[in-house]
């Protein structure tokens, strides 16, 4: 049975520019979205920032109205039957917001148990269970303002599950988490799927979708490009690889240089809590993407995560030790970085030049 169906769903935001001569501008966030998601499915929505992932999630969760088209959850229209849908869904956003920082984790859950009109006896049983499931029991009575980001995110999920919803929306739940916390959270999500929940997950990490989802829709500029299984999607991008570098203060001109490199398909920068995550998608075998030892660079410290290596470590299993090394965010001196093959030796980037640029910014972090 289809739990979610959307037909030609469209959402337009209006914004204005100027002060005296205000001009209205329309931004198309969603443009003709057609989806169907079955009960018990873990469905992923993959796309870059601004693609419209959160907009779809909000519409399906009844907290945003579509401009046109229809969306039905459990066969009910999200506009006309929002009140009937709400008790049956759970909603979890990524990030720091969405919790009462001066309340304890337990009180946050208690408050939402009340809002979901749970009988006190049921809530009393369920709250300790959820705290235990999320590994928060020991610090359940502390104010959440002292929680780490990973703990807050687990509490978000506990809050989303407080009323035992049939359908759970997880909007970029691992964004901003360190790889270890993200991996723990992915294990929690897999556990929820095994428990029979229907899960709607958004992310901009393909490896996450690959590790978790039954099917994935790729969203770009408000349109769904393709819907398929992760393995089928991976075949489409078999000649691409992604390298992620955690650093900070990357200058725009450097990003432009990387972006215009012939071996690079796309570059994305994600703002983390204290750092930036530079994600470079490169064509395997393109000029300048040959593996090799990177040039020596004095000082600087490269935190390298993710990309293909991370994906392999998580999904394929045999490379666990390497994945653990990456996930542990072990600082790797640039001189010993082995998995940064993209620009090495390319004439556009004299040996060590890019490393020196990145290294300088990373060194600043070390000093800070």
């Amino acid at each position: 049975m289809d739990v979610i169906i959307t037909e030609d769903l469209r959402r337009v935001y209006e914004t204005t520019t100027g002060v005296l001569r205000r001009k209205r501008k329309e931004i198309i966030a969603l443009d003709g979205i057609n989806l169907s998601i079955q009960g018990g499915e873990l469905f992923g929505l993959l796309g870059p920032n601004g693609a419209g992932k959160t907009t779809i999630t909000r519409i399906l969760a009844t907290i945003l109205l579509p401009t046109s088209g229809t969306a039905r959850v459990f066969g009910l229209d999200v506009v006309k039957s929002a009140r009937e849908i709400r008790p049956r869904i759970g909603l979890v956003f990524g990030g720091e917001r969405g919790l009462y920082s001066r309340l304890s984790g337990r009180d946050n859950l208690q408050y939402f148990a009340d809002l979901y009109q749970m009988p006190p006896g049921v809530a009393k049983q369920r709250i300790p269970q959820l705290l235990d499931m999320m590994g928060l029991t020991e610090r359940a009575d502390e104010r959440t303002e002292g929680y780490s980001r990973g703990m807050k995110q687990r509490l978000h999920i506990a809050r989303g599950l407080i009323h035992d919803p049939e359908l759970l929306f997880l909007d970029e739940p691992t964004t901003g988490l360190d790889p270890l916390a993200a991996r723990e959270l992915r294990e929690v999500i897999l556990g929820l799927k095994k428990a029979g929940k229907t899960i709607f997950l958004t992310s901009h990490y393909m490896f996450e979708m690959d590790a978790l989802c039954d099917r994935v829709a790729v969203l770009s500029q408000g349109k769904i490009l393709i819907v398929d299984t992760p393995s089928a999607l991976k075949k489409l991008v078999a000649d691409l690889e992604v390298v992620e570098i955690e650093c900070f203060g990357i200058p725009t001109e450097l990003v432009t240089r990387i972006r215009t490199h012939p071996g690079v398909a796309a570059v994305n920068i994600e703002e983390l809590e204290h750092t930036q995550l530079l994600q470079i998608q490169a064509r395997a075998g393109a000029p300048g993407t040959q593996s090799g030892d990177p040039p020596a660079h004095p000082g600087g410290c490269l935190y390298q995560t993710g990309g293909r290596r991370l994906e392999k470590g998580i999904t394929d299993g045999p490379d666990e030790s390497h994945a653990a090394d990456i996930l542990g965010l072990v600082p790797t001196p640039i001189e010993r970085t082995r998995h940064f093959p993209i620009f090495h030796g390319h004439p556009a980037f004299p040996a060590g030049h890019l490393y020196a640029d990145l290294g300088r910014h990373l060194s600043l972090r070390e000093k800070a």
Binding site: E14, I63, R86, L91, S101, F112, L115, Y116, R159
Partner: protein, 198 residues
């Protein structure tokens, strides 16, 4: 009276502003509980605590300025106080709807604050105001609260029943208006996608 009014008015707004800022406003709206019910509970508790401000004002007058502050009719005064708290909580609920729809509601409320002082007789006696202002004064709970507290505290005489009835009637009226307004306001906020803006 001013402290109860101000405290409640701003708290209704602050609650929504805080919910908006902390990203919990949309999460609350995603629950089956109607948002006015959530706000009503929070505003009511706040109105009760605002009575402390009245106590502090009394204490300051008595201790610091040695003013002879006495309440001639304590029972009527207390009944009046309870009705005022309920009524102003309900009025705060109406004004709170503004804060759901726009993050700039604070400016509107600031502008509206002093006219309410004047119209409800908190800054000048109502008898000094022109006749055409009377209907506006009549629909403001602070007007009747002010009359009630003055009458019971100073034992000015006169029948307190009309003031009681006005406060009860206005509370019901505010609740109905708030209920209608919130339905409309929720629709507008969901349409504009403004719940997360702060």
């Amino acid at each position: 009276m001013i402290s109860i009014w101000n405290n409640n008015l701003w708290t209704s707004g602050d609650i929504i502003y805080d919910e908006r800022r902390s990203g919990t406003l949309s999460l609350i709206l995603a629950t089956p509980t109607a948002f006015p019910v959530v706000l009503l509970g929070k505003s009511f508790i706040n109105a009760i605590t605002s009575i402390l401000a009245m106590g502090i004002t009394f204490a300051t007058g008595i201790i610091a300025f040695r003013l002879p502050i006495g309440i001639a009719d304590p029972v009527d005064f207390l009944i009046g106080l309870v009705l005022i708290v309920i009524s102003i909580t309900c009025l705060g609920l109406v004004l709170g709807s503004l804060f759901v729809i726009t993050r700039n509601a604070g400016e509107f409320v600031t502008v509206a604050n002093f006219p309410v002082y004047i119209l409800s007789g908190l800054s000048v006696p109502l008898t000094l105001l022109p006749l055409w202002t009377r209907p506006f004064s009549a629909v403001l709970a602070p007007t009747w609260g002010n009359i009630l507290l003055n009458q019971s505290a100073q034992q000015l005489g006169g029948n307190l029943l009309p003031s009681y009835l006005w406060l009860i009637g206005l509370s019901i009226f505010y609740l109905i208006v708030a209920g209608v307004l919130y339905r409309r306001v929720e629709y507008l906020a969901l349409r504009a996608g403004s719940l997360e803006q702060w």
